[in-house]
């Protein structure tokens, strides 16, 4: 009965917007996004989520056009990339944007994860937001790894060989997994083909998970620097639009500014020269290094002498992120009000940068010993420091009553 009335109402007003809205509530969805209440006190560290979304769009769009000119065949891949660089209109711009854009995506994601770790963004009730984020990170790494194989340079080929070979360390089924990844008995044309297909596919899965990430986030809203949940919606939050759309815009412009300066003036700065040599299965480069964003995990892999343990260590270093919400059970969310946590956190960040540096060094002393120390610090942050601190760190008396009172005390 009420349905019938609605239909009559629709026909009376006759607006196109109403007509569509009645059948597909797209406008109320946009309205939800615009009205989404966001804490008023977010710092610039809360901009990286949007930037990650934009970096994803940049990668998908440039990647789409690159795929129109790229040939996933061992005999033509390297040539087709050079064809893009030389003969396709603005092909060099597409390719450099895609390559530098990948690095910027990782810079943004590292900052985003570091913010989450510091401000306890993973804590209840946002565990699923965090888990979705870690899944996104894993998918991103897989995509980046396969993307690096596509130009079919020396580092592409040998990087692919080293990393896919790791799976052979798995007992019993390891060798079968490797054959499955390769599509044969070495990294060859079937490998390149399937990596191309997956490299094209996974970004859309990433996009889907990003939507889930945001839906889960909107359930309880963003955290904020105080770590205190919103109590007075009217005074402590603002609608996302126009407040955060305009604020994000400022940082989006800075992001593109730095990105384009890199593309224009230092496009090959983050790449490896060996990847301008066509892949040659008969010649091994003197030193195989992954892209910079894999270096911390590469350092962990090499620090452990046993192959299987090394592989477990490397994957464990990422997997441990999934359980962070249950390792850190301290009631205080924000690291700002946790004196001892802060110390552990900054040691962890510094150590992560050390691991990254160590990953780029030769697999020799003293780097191996340093990597082992660094690796222990990495895991003890998660497995020792976080659980112990949750138990013994006292709750600070400085934690503000509410976001509003924290703003007042600042003046």
């Amino acid at each position: 009965m009420s349905n019938d009335n609605k239909i009559i109402d629709q026909s009376k007003t006759g607006s196109v917007v109403d007509w569509i809205e009645y059948r597909l509530p797209v406008f109320s969805f946009i309205k939800h996004l615009c009205d989404y209440r966001t804490p008023i006190n977010l710092s610039f560290m809360w901009n990286f989520g949007i930037l990650a979304g934009i970096a994803l769009v940049v990668q998908i769009v440039t990647g789409l056009f690159l795929a129109m000119h790229y040939t996933p065949h061992v005999a033509h891949a390297f040539d087709s990339v050079e064809h893009i660089m030389r003969d396709v209109q603005y092909g060099w711009l597409l390719r450099y944007t895609h390559a530098v854009g990948a690095s910027f995506f990782f810079i943004v994601i590292f900052a985003h994860i570091a913010r989450g770790l510091y401000y306890g963004s993973y804590k209840s009730p946002r565990e699923i937001v965090w888990i979705c984020g870690v899944i996104l990170y894993v998918l991103m790494m897989a995509t980046a790894f396969m993307g690096y194989v596509l130009p079919w340079g020396q580092m592409s080929f040998w990087g692919a060989t080293v990393i896919t070979n790791l799976f052979s360390a798995i007992p019993l089924i390891g060798d079968s997994i490797v054959s499955l990844l390769w599509g044969g008995f070495s990294v060859d044309n079937p490998t390149l083909n399937r990596f191309f297909v997956l490299h094209y596919l996974i970004p859309f899965i990433i996009a889907a998970f990003a939507v889930i990430h945001v839906i889960a986030l909107h359930q309880f809203g963003s955290t904020n620097p105080t770590g205190v949940e919103v109590k007075n919606v009217k005074k402590e939050t603002v609608p996302f639009h126009p407040y955060y759309t305009y604020k994000d815009l400022v940082y989006v412009v800075i992001f593109f500014l730095v990105l384009f300066m890199m593309i224009a003036f230092l496009p090959d700065y983050l790449g490896h020269p060996d990847n301008y040599i066509e892949a040659n299965p008969m010649i091994t480069p003197s030193h195989i290094v992954p892209e910079w964003y894999f270096l911390p995990f590469y350092a962990i892999l090499r620090a452990i002498p046993d192959k299987l343990m090394g592989v477990l260590g490397m994957f464990g270093a990422i997997a441990v992120l999934f359980v962070v919400p249950w390792l850190d059970r301290h009631p205080t969310k924000s690291g700002k009000y946790r004196k001892y946590f802060k110390i552990a956190y900054w040691i962890f960040i510094f150590n992560f940068l050390c691991l990254m540096w160590l990953g780029g060094q030769e697999a020799a002393e003293p780097y191996l010993t340093l990597s082992r120390i660094s690796l222990c610090i990495y895991f003890s942050y998660f497995l020792v420091a976080l659980p112990l601190l949750s138990k013994y760190e006292p709750i600070s008396p400085d934690i503000p009553e509410s976001i509003e009172s924290s703003l007042k005390s600042k003046g």
Partner: protein
Amino acid sequence: MLIKNIRFFAIILFASLQYLLFIHNAFASDIFKPLHPKKEVAWQFDGVFGKFDRASIRRGYKVYKEVCAACHSLNRIAFRNLTEIGFSTKEAEALAAGYNIIDGPNDIGEMFDRPGALADHFVKPYPNSEAARASNHGALPPDLSLIIKARHDGANYVYSLLTGYKGTEPDSGGLYENPYFITGKLAMTPPLADGIVSYDDKTPQTLSNYAYDVVNFLQWTASPEMEHRKKIGYKVFIVLIVLFIFCVIAKKKVWDDAGK
């Protein structure tokens, strides 16, 4: 507050880039441990405002054509590309016509020779890598199109290598001593010597000038888009700075009444 945040943000981005440079240099120095540090040349193409030195590139082309091309291919360059470095279309056509290109099959199924055209790529000195090895004591002369980008600090590396031979006599293994090469010895005969290529202009015909010019030429073959790329960089910079100022003003205006 916003300005402070932006400063933080910029510092984070900048610091992370600096850190990446640090890492990059660290592993760069590990892979290539030259016995000598490379010679540092002040190249005209270096830096944000660097441009191609077209006169030098054309001389370098001559050096490549008369010396390097005997063994090294330059597969990724077509004769049409020569118009980008100051050759007229007619000159480029004439240069192309000086080569025989194997084409075909024709309608009776046979391959035939024809003079080169603008669309043709540079002609390889050897039909395949086996032939190249057979003529060079087993060593394969690499294609030079990308050589500058395929080595760390490529321009200085190639310049150092070309000017860095110690003597002109090979050792018992047929290798020549050159401290800039990764192993200190390489199969390539010292390719350049004073006066072996005659320049059309008044540039002194010295080994170091030949090396300088050929590196300028190879820098162009490796990244022919460089000038275009930098030009777009200046434009984007100006546009985004202006946009940035507007965004900051707009953001301030929007936030003026926040929470009231």
